[in-house]
């Protein structure tokens, strides 16, 4: 009897709940029923990676004031964003009017987004870093406006470098003054010098490819591909790989597994004296870190071809499938006009040279001058414009680097990598 009563109650409550929920279903709890892609509305839905949301918040507020266009942000984790974009672009029915795309995705989605040539005026092209202007142009049209960009610079422990004993000991051992490195030989020496007493001079990241590729650029070679030709086995790639692996003796063990997060943790914990890292990390050192307030920043080191790095920009694009093109383009223009608003966010990045320059002399933004110098570097170049690039990185470059830092023969590994990449590109 009691079971029956319980069942009846559960059924009644369940039925009632379902009815209420189904009634409420027309609009979820996430906000107003902002119909995605509705023609002529003054609200745009902006798809953005979770870390980039803060970058555009200030822009959105300013855009609302100036143009009356408001933005709803759809935040997604980086790992799932490519799948989501593929799904919506292939269905031809998109839930967003503006999408922030990682630069490596531009070639994959070039046919799904609209040209925005009118936003790339001569003035704009002068105020955006040259490598980004080049990358934004796909098949003769500009398809994405860089909203923010990043590059690897050198972060070092100022307190250790300024320590009198360290300075004296270093000069005695190497014959020159201890200072932020400007050559790779200096970087090697300093790394070796600080590798003692449970500390390491630097890190070697076997889990990421951009640092090794930066060395390749500094040596004057294109990365991996020269047009359609795979050049990963040339002398520049081998020299860069040998140098990269050689630093492992001054780095924590297990380099094969070290990625961005691990390297950042090691530096913020005070375990490494120097790191080559994305510039945003300078402003993201936790206040309770033992290295807080003790870090200096320097540009990426030059090779024979000059300063070279692989930038990490994100581009704002307007899908062809949106029905709200005008408002979407206005929002993208706002993102250019009020680009410096991103600098005041937690991530603290922008894409316009003038925006970085506006802040470069302010306290707390010491990383900006090295970042500008690195992004303007003669050898700085974006990733090859192939839609297979991410696949090449995940299945060939990173596994090859991991084998190399674990002691593999560089020439053999590069030859194998060449064959694998050629197979992928067939």
């Amino acid at each position: 009897m009691s079971s029956r009563t319980t069942i009846s109650r559960i059924t009644a409550i369940g039925g009632l709940s379902t009815a209420v929920l189904l009634a409420a279903t027309a609009c979820g709890a996430g906000g107003p029923a902002a119909t995605s892609g509705s023609a002529g509305t003054s609200t745009v839905n902006v798809l953005v990676e979770a870390g980039g949301h803060a970058e555009l918040t200030g822009v959105a507020e300013q855009c609302k004031k100036e143009t009356g266009i408001s933005a709803n942000f759809v935040e997604l984790p980086y790992d799932g964003m490519f799948n989501r974009l593929s799904s919506e672009f292939s269905s031809g029915n998109v839930s967003f009017d503006v999408a922030a795309l990682d630069s490596v995705w531009l070639p994959s989605f070039k046919d799904a987004v609209q040209p925005i040539d009118e936003l790339f005026t001569d003035e704009a092209k002068k105020d955006i870093f040259p490598a980004l202007v080049k990358e934004a142009n796909v098949d003769g049209h500009f398809i994405g406006l860089p909203a923010w960009t990043n590059a690897e610079i050198i972060l070092y422990r100022k307190d250790l470098f300024e320590d009198a004993k360290n300075k004296a000991d270093f000069k005695t051992k190497y014959g020159y003054d201890l200072a932020a490195p400007t050559t790779w030989k200096q970087y090697q020496d300093i790394s070796e010098f600080f590798t003692k007493d449970g500390m390491y001079g630097t890190d070697v990241k076997g889990g990421v490819e951009t640092e090794w590729l930066a060395h390749v650029l500094q040596a004057g070679s294109p990365m991996v591909l020269d047009g359609d030709k795979v050049v990963i086995d040339n002398a520049a790639h081998k020299e860069a790989l040998d140098f990269y692996v050689g630093l492992a003796k001054s780095a924590p063990s297990g380099a094969a597994q070290v990625d961005w997060a691990a390297a950042q943790n090691l530096f913020n914990q005070g375990k490494t004296a120097m790191t080559r890292f994305w510039a945003h990390a300078y402003r993201q050192i936790p206040k309770d870190s033992p290295v807080a307030g003790k870090v200096g920043a320097a540009p990426m080191i030059a090779g024979s071809a000059g300063v070279g790095a692989v930038p990490g920009p994100w581009y704002l694009t307007v899908p062809k499938a949106t029905k709200n093109t005008d408002a979407a383009k206005k929002f993208v223009k706002c993102a250019y006009d009020y680009n410096d608003k991103g600098i005041e966010s937690s991530l603290g990045l922008a894409s316009r040279i003038s925006a970085f320059e506006k802040y470069q002399d302010k306290p707390g933004y010491e990383s900006f001058k090295p970042l500008i110098e690195t992004l303007n570097g003669t050898a700085t170049a974006t990733r090859p414009g192939t839609e297979k690039w991410q696949q090449i990185v995940d299945t060939v470059l990173v596994p090859m680097l991991q084998k190399a830092v674990a002691g593999g023969d560089s020439a053999t590994l590069l030859a194998d990598a060449k064959k694998q990449i050629e197979d992928l590109l067939k």
């Binding site: 069942i7 279903t25 799948n83 990043n150 950042q264 994305w278």
Partner: protein, 317 residues
């Protein structure tokens, strides 16, 4: 009683008059001691077995519970503590900052409501479809029923990512994009096969005689199901409901592909703490800890039904 008779003194033997009581006492004492030793040995054996079982149980609990405890402790750590090398289990300094950050983030409350909505709709849909399906399959024992239940299992063998994108496109095509109902339907595709299988095993455990008795008393087939069988398997329904609820509550992939502004659920919001520019461990673990509370409460609330449901399946045959 028999033991007492065997040890009863022989009063007819005059020679042993003086010594007998002493001998008898000694024999009784020795026998008692032997029995006592045996009993103590048994008790000691039982105690050590019980201790061993408790140790094994504690080890299993630690093994299963440690990740959650670590998550809980991490949620109270300061930013630098969360990334300590080597990691520490307990926070060096306790802080609620992560909870303030996580709960203060835009859209968290809305995502909770969306998760609850989606999980309840999906659970109700699963039960409404699974209970009659499982009942029909177990009671009528037809070939088509057997094929159907196997086919239901096959759907579980397809990786969700393979059907995620087509499902998202279908929902968009019928205008259900970014709604809790679309996500609930998608989640039902995950929980329904499991629900049918679970409910089938529970229905099989109910003797047919019960229904026949109800029919003899004037119940229709449906009446017997509603008045007799369903109350008997209510524990099983609770178990199935919990599994269906959990499947939806924790689901990430479909939520990632099918939700945007209006219906984004909390697992996606939790994942958003990992960005291309860093990982906010503290806030991520704080939100994950809060998100696990409703499930823990639900499990405690339905604990008796769950135990009843689990034993219902066990007594069959």
């Amino acid at each position: 009683m028999r033991v007492a008779e065997r040890t009863k003194p022989d009063h007819g033997n005059a020679v042993a008059t003086a010594a007998q009581p002493v001998l008898q006492t000694t024999a009784r004492g020795s026998s008692r001691r032997r029995r006592g030793v045996n009993r103590e040995g048994l008790e000691a054996g039982r105690r050590s077995t019980r201790t061993l079982l408790w140790i094994l149980l504690a080890a299993a609990m630690v093994l299963y519970g440690f990740p959650f405890l670590y998550l809980l402790f991490t949620s109270f750590k300061t930013p630098i503590d969360t990334i300590a090398v080597p990691p520490t289990i307990l926070p060096r300094e306790w802080t609620l900052e992560n909870y303030a950050n996580a709960l203060g983030r835009n859209g968290v409350l809305a995502s909770f409501i969306n998760s609850i909505q989606t999980a309840i709709i999906s659970t109700v849909l699963s039960l409404v479809l699974a209970v009659p399906a499982a009942y029909g399959i177990t009671r009528y024992q037809t070939l088509s029923g057997r094929i159907f239940i196997m086919a239901a299992l096959v759907t579980r063998m397809v990786p969700p990512v393979a059907i995620g994108i087509p499902l998202a496109s279908m929902m968009a095509a019928v205008g259900l994009s970014d709604t809790p109902i679309a996500l609930s339907i998608a989640h039902t595709t995950i929980s329904l096969p499991l629900s049918i299988w679970l409910m089938s095993s529970f229905f099989e455990a109910v003797p047919k005689d019960l229904e026949e008795a109800a029919t003899v008393d004037g119940c229709s087939r449906l009446g017997a199901l509603w008045r007799v069988v369903i109350p008997v398997v209510s524990g099983g329904i609770a178990v199935t409901a919990i599994f269906a609820f959990l499947a939806s509550w924790n689901e990430f992939l479909f939520a990632l592909l099918m939700t945007a502004i209006r219906s984004q659920t909390t697992p996606v919001v939790i994942a958003n703490f990992q960005t291309q520019f860093g990982l906010d461990w503290g806030s991520m673990t704080a939100l994950a800890a809060v998100y696990s509370i409703p499930v823990i409460l639900l499990t405690l609330l339905l604990q008796r039904k769950i135990v009843a449901g689990m034993t219902l399946g066990a007594v069959k045959g």
